[in-house]
Symmetry: D3
């Protein structure tokens, strides 16, 4: 690691300040407002007894996610996708990523025929919105599953959650591998990688993209080292937010 | 006025608790997170120098608004309009109402060829979202116009704002005219009215609808009395939020 | 009232010539071609036994409306909404207004599990199309309900219609409150109001909008006076059209 | 020809009663409300100086058409294409047919850089709506072209119309070739053919479709004989409607 | 017939080289890659046991078709209809034509409650894509029906195919009637006609369009002569392709 | 590596048979029909002089890609995205991946203000369609760039291609890391990874997803080893296809 100063003065392997406001919503079965630096994502988990028709009768549940950005979450206002009449490729791609990441830690049999929809709405964007969404969505998911158990839709002894999951971005900026890029860094990174990691330290997703020059095996390894270390910290923030069990009775 | 108790214990002519967090967004030229009871709306104002092509060369500005609800702002999750691929009638109608209400207090000549887009995103809904949106949008608008002046897009001596504007809902519930209905009241009101009033006490919009039985002239007058009194209070909340001028330099 | 001459020579409190051609369509269960001056709207009422799935089993009926303009009903040709691929905000808003206005005079229990869809297609537009649509739609509705009774879908002794309904526009033009604005007046009115009134003189909808300067309580009262008087005349035209009962057997 | 009675008592080679109300619309540059039996189509022609961008600078004009049916023009109400969000295949196909048919009799060079859009809206449908639309559209087109000449957009001596055009349906019902099918006949025809013919008796379009059994060369010839004779009569109705030149000054 | 040389040296009544690669697809129940000169269309037939809900219980099957062009099948790249978000008029029209043409030779009762969807995707376009699609689709259809019989969905003794069907384009170019136009001819033809003919020589569709000057009865007859002769040859190519029965077991 | 037999008898580190038919299309500036086992993708490259408006004047070119599947490329027929009216998330995601992969080896300055659109249409799908598309698209891209040079749109001495690019899928099936999964393997893989590699052996994209159990660092390394070895072979197939320079003059 070199001594290059990052825009906000962090070291290369340091996360931005993280806060997780669990139970932010009065309406949802689970919710969390996560902030990673200036990036703020509202995650709500909606619990429904029953599954889509094509899944009925298999004794398994379903978890899906939808990601969106408020039009003025970014520095320049974006047109609303509802007004454009279609969901863009990037939005689709991120929604699918969040859904897969959450499903990787859920035992669908233990969940039973229940559906969880996690909405991740970016209120303010400063890089790393998809990874913040995954980290926050996990907290909302835990509370919504607990709600399902309390209300008798999930068996008392079932353990639908087999692990926790968090995500972080890493990238190579000015030749230096860095953790948790903010927007100013992200927009000029040579390589950008989003890594989704479970509480046990296993990979759920590794998505590395050469934005500028292609990268070699050594760079890839350095980025993975950074990401695994960052994920350990994020997992700790999740645990802290979930420690106060009283809040899960938000509804 | 009778002594009927309202669901949250208010009297018939009492507003819910109101808070306006001005400058909530780091990105927008003006912003306000308004809460009216459990209803919470994030209002951001985006300032753009220039106007749409069809308005160019007339020396006049433009103000428009877009309203939307997060899918889980309500008690039951709604499908996203971006995914349905079209904006619903109610959304359109409210967006148009907010835009008209704001334009009523803006002198487009004084604004010059500048465009303001006000986004009102409902984070949590408990009745009165459109009126809360108008009240919050005005605060965001003031800051965005001030931003335009500070950045040299609006003449120093111009006064684009000719009045302030706020809005409130009133309705007849169990035969009693009431101010500022929460969702439980709104859903069983016989008559529902949204009233948009300027700081000087003039009407910008009066939209009364018989949901159950039609209403007579006397009931209409009682509702207007309640609304005008409520608007005075809301105007005061707006003034208080705008008093701290330092905050307007949010960007 | 001042003596200002209106574009077509009417006094401020005078309706344009009204004609209602009941039973214009050979296909619909009820229909009326209404003309208010040069504004012409074809209203057809379609009767279907049964209700949408989400209403089944409640013993109640449903009434809904759809409003549209032919592309060359206006002075300049408008693009078709079918070709644009979406229904505009104004169209949605008016369709919803017409539906609510009609439902206000229908006893859904007495209607039974039957659905009425009222289509209001503007063949020629010269201001006041939404109010003409409501006034004409009521006539079509009466005949379609009668058709339902004749064909055994509505009980002989049931009275689904609890009142009649008509609508008129009023506005302030050159400082003068006027009844039933034609397009040339409507386009430069300071305040524009659509009022929906039952045969008994009660309000179903009051929608007043300041297009230019906001309006005060006194102006509002003057406009309501004009509207209530105009509605009495329109109700009379409806009665006259419905008097000739032989026509209701158009199908 | 056999003596089989048709549903309305016509002989096999007889048209339904035809009326053409020229200048029905106060707004359009040309218009005609055509009735062929119970089929009624409102045709309006909109004249615009100038052509679409991709045609500019070639000194040629453009003629296009749009066909649509009101939702309750038919016996059972159809959903609006604007609400379905897309134009159906049948609608597209007929719009294209009408446009081609009209263009076949227009000299685009003589028309100059002007655009004519012909809207054909079916107010009531009882078979033969596309052919009635073509026959009526021609009348509207003539008046709109004349309007363009009067207003100086078309050269005084130019002759943009090189022929007239009319259309009629023919078909084989119960083994018998018949002219101008009404809906009851059309829906059970073995073969259905739409023929577009100029005033000089030349073919613009021949569209024959075997709905039931395929047809042989002899049947095809019989159908063409019927169609050519019917077109002569329709051309005469057009001439009569256009004879009263005073009406063309409708705007 | 004159001696005018055609772009590729054919005589006026000569088809382009035809090849039919039956069983091109490993996945579909029936398939054929047809080439007519440089025009290449991949036709696949998908067999499904059962019919759409609105047809259930009638003991009849259904055959439908969808036509599309790859974006770079043409000389200039076209935008994808999936990205434009709607299917164009021409695409709809051709899909409907192919479906009708195939249904004309299928006995729906004998097919039983089974559905066949024929996809015709133009890989390369050089005129005559819709007619090549019909000719190739028939071959795919035969194999898919045979697949249905082999798999027990169609009765052993049923004969769903009552005839074969092929199609060809004809047109008048430089005053000369010609068979099977390639794109260079098609784009400047005065009259263009698509003719769909059964193996027994009966007409299923005759669609003649004057692109330039209208045509007379004599020209029409010459075009039909050419088309009927060409159809005989195409029918022979279909027979040859279907002769090798081993290939029908492609799946 | 274990001795587990794969469905088609390959060893774990063996590619399926690869063929690349360069210049398959007569219309496109570059084209290749690539087969990887039963997966067949038609790749066409369209060259346009000029760039989209938002890129003009920067002296840089643009490369983009669109991926789509024919409805019956798969074992069960899929609905067309053009008919559904929107492009699905998976399609978007893959189109973006192909575009990024190609751009990684193009020097946009050297390309000059020219646009290349690469269409990858899956004619038959048996796993690995996106990676086959990238490998084939590169071949089409080379020829289209050469076409641009021959036709004077790219400077003689410019070298827009700075490397070659190919892609391959790897995955863990039954606990064994395997190269180039066919559909039967892909659908039950525990982990699935797509790797895009340049001719020099650098990574452009690494996209690993745990479909079943999350994977550890060791498994990740084994998969990358397999992918890099496979990419070397694919690069060789590309070189062989491009060796026959005569073919590049396909148009």
């Amino acid at each position: 690691m070199t001594d290059t100063l990052r825009p906000d003065g962090r070291t290369a392997n340091q996360l931005r300040p993280v806060t997780i406001e669990r139970g932010w919503s009065d309406q949802a079965e689970g919710s969390a407002l996560i902030s990673c630096g200036r990036t703020r994502v509202l995650c709500t988990a909606s619990f429904t007894n029953g599954v889509p028709r094509w899944m009925m009768g298999q004794g398994k549940g379903w978890v899906t996610a939808e990601y969106a950005m408020l039009p003025r979450s970014t520095n320049d206002r974006m047109a609303r996708e509802s007004i454009k009449g279609k969901v863009g490729g990037r939005t689709h791609e991120i929604s699918r990523l969040i859904g897969r990441s959450l499903r990787a830690v859920v035992d669908m049999k233990a969940l039973g025929e229940n559906t969880l929809v996690i909405d991740c709405d970016v209120l303010q964007a400063d890089g790393g919105t998809r990874t913040a969404a995954i980290t926050g969505a996990y907290v909302a998911l835990v509370d919504a599953i607990e709600w399902g158990r309390t209300h008798g839709f999930i068996a008392k002894k079932a353990t639908p959650l087999i692990d926790s999951v968090a995500a972080v971005s890493v990238g190579i900026v000015d030749g230096e591998p860095r953790l948790d890029l903010e927007y100013r860094e992200d927009s000029r990174a040579e390589t950008d990688m989003n890594v989704v990691v479970t509480g046990r330290g296993l990979f759920v997703e590794v998505q590395g993209t050469a934005e500028g020059a292609p990268f070699d095996r050594n760079e890839l390894n350095n980025l993975l080292d950074l990401a695994l270390a960052g994920a350990v910290d994020l997992t700790e923030f999740q645990r802290a937010a979930l420690a106060n069990t009283a809040e899960s009775e938000s509804r």
